[in-house]
């Protein structure tokens, strides 16, 4: 076994308690990140269906000819952000109104003519269902000749947008915090080990060891701590996921559908390895001959 690997492994074994503590700390931090990711990921799946329910209603002016109406429909269908359109004439709108509102008969009583306008219901593409896009799309449509008014569920669009953005922000924030924590833990561990081995390092320098030769086992040690911490985290996440899905899911059915993208597991270990190496590199960066 090459000296550097042997030295790193021996050092981990020699200072097993401090290293075990560091691994658990790294593992716990990553576990928090993975559980958050699991929540955000499943929340994302749940919210990704919401835009399908969202629609924009374009009310047309009363005196439009059939050709003018068709022209508006064609124009709307040609837009990049529109997934589909559904036209309802004044008569269709009345039928729809009577279907959805039980007391429609009472409301419409006494009116000689149909008070409802013809309208076009627009389904937007998923990526455009956010308050800023919906607002700008609706403003553009409002400028089309023959369009009277455009309505959309402002609150729905806003909520979807807010939930998506905030869950993304939370996960990015946590990722940054956990990264700093992992770097800090491996940095502190390696720094402690570095000071404990000060005498050994001094001897190595006197024998002609380069900085690289002295640093390498420490950097490797930081990497190993990262990997082992990562393994602790993914194992715990897998156990928690299986418990939620198969134990809690039998009691609360909503948890049955929880999804864990397994690709995240090796990626987490890789990220942990990189963070461990970065931490130890910072710790040993000040070695001078």
């Amino acid at each position: 076994m090459p000296y550097i690997i042997k030295s790193a492994v021996k050092s981990i074994y020699r200072d097993k308690w401090i290293n075990l503590l560091s691994m658990l700390a790294i593992g716990s931090s990553l576990l928090i990140l993975l559980i958050t990711f699991l929540l955000v990921f499943n929340f994302h799946i749940a919210t990704s269906r919401l835009p399908e329910l969202f629609s924009l209603v374009v009310y047309l002016k009363d005196n439009l000819s059939e050709d003018e109406t068709k022209k508006i429909i064609t124009q709307l269908q040609g837009r990049n952000d529109v997934d589909g359109v559904k036209y309802l004439s004044k008569a269709d709108a009345l039928v729809e109104f009577k279907k959805t509102v039980k007391s429609a008969g009472v409301i419409l009583e006494g009116l000689d003519e149909n008070p409802l306008s013809s309208y076009i219901e627009i389904k937007l593409k998923k990526e455009y269902v956010s308050r800023p896009s919906v607002e700008s799309i609706s403003a553009e449509i409002k400028n089309i000749n023959g369009v009277d008014e455009v309505y959309f569920g402002e609150k729905i669009a806003e909520t979807i947008y807010f939930l998506k953005k905030s869950s993304q922000a939370v996960s990015i924030f946590l990722f940054i915090i956990v990264s700093i924590v992992v770097i800090f833990i491996s940095h502190s561990t390696v720094k402690i080990l570095f000071f404990r081995k000060k005498e050994e390092i001094e001897i190595l320098k006197l024998l002609g060891a380069t900085n690289g030769f002295i640093r390498a086992p420490f950097v490797l040690e930081g990497g190993i701590l990262g990997v082992l911490g990562g393994i602790i985290a993914i194992t715990s996440t897998a156990i928690i996921y299986l418990l939620i899905k198969y134990k809690l899911g039998t009691v609360i059915p909503v948890f049955e559908g929880i999804v864990l993208p397994w690709q995240i597991m090796p990626l987490s270990v890789l990220i942990s390895l990189i963070l461990g190496v970065i931490g130890s590199l910072i710790a040993v960066g000040r070695i001078r001959i």
């Binding site: 021996k10 001897i203 190595l204 320098k205 006197l206 060891a209 380069t210």
Partner: protein
């Protein structure tokens, strides 16, 4: 092999070495002597650049020590075997691994054979798997000698190599160093023990209050 030209060294405001000049040729064995605190260890430290001279020039083999870059210092040290008074052995490494360190640093091959060969020279082949703490002072010093010679350096520096050793062990250690010198390695020994060089015909550099007094 080692050239000092008007070397001056201060510790804070105290001048420990004053205008030191000497030349040691390849294959020589030289004693640097003087009372405790006279600057013997400092002189050795200047050779392997554990200390930097404040004035003057030092040359060791092909290395202009005084103008070496930091990154070049390890390569100078790889050409020097150092025997320390306080041994400087790594406690959690076996005798074998301690001796092998010099070779691993130099990325040498055939480490196993070279280490056993060096341990055989110091009569410690059977202690290869032992840890330093269970060895006697004399044995530890022999491990240090094995570590110093294993990479076959051209220069050996020994700082009080027999300090804290009983007379018989000290004699054995000196015999070993003599043998190393007889094989062509340049040796510089810093010591204040007159017994080590009383009946020798080797060159003696005496340092007294920072001044060099040389006698043949």
């Amino acid at each position: 092999m080692v050239i000092f030209n008007n070397v001056v060294k201060y510790y804070e405001n105290l001048k420990v070495l004053r205008d030191i000049s000497f030349q040691i040729t390849k294959g020589e064995m030289v004693f640097v002597t003087g009372p405790t605190g006279s600057g013997k260890t400092t002189l050795l430290k200047l050779i392997y650049l554990a200390e930097k001279p404040d004035e003057g020039e030092i040359t060791v083999g092909d290395f202009k020590v005084t103008s070496l870059k930091k990154s070049e210092i390890p390569y100078l040290r790889r050409n020097i075997g150092i025997i320390f008074q306080d041994f400087k052995l790594i406690k959690n490494m076996t005798v074998f691994d301690n001796v092998a360190l010099s070779l691993r640093i130099k990325k040498e091959k055939d480490i196993k054979n070279l280490v056993y060969e060096a341990l055989k020279k110091v009569h410690l082949r059977h202690k290869a798997d032992s840890y330093p703490k269970i060895l006697s002072g004399g044995e530890q010093q022999r491990v240090v000698i094995a570590r110093a010679i294993v990479a076959k350096p051209e220069l050996i520096l020994a700082d009080e190599p027999t300090a804290n050793l009983d007379p018989n062990t000290a004699t054995a250690i000196m015999q070993l160093i003599n043998e190393i010198n007889l094989q062509g390695t340049t040796v510089i020994i810093a010591t204040h023990y007159r017994e080590l060089f009383r009946n020798t015909w080797k060159r003696i550099l005496r340092i007294d209050e920072g001044n060099l007094i040389e006698r043949a």
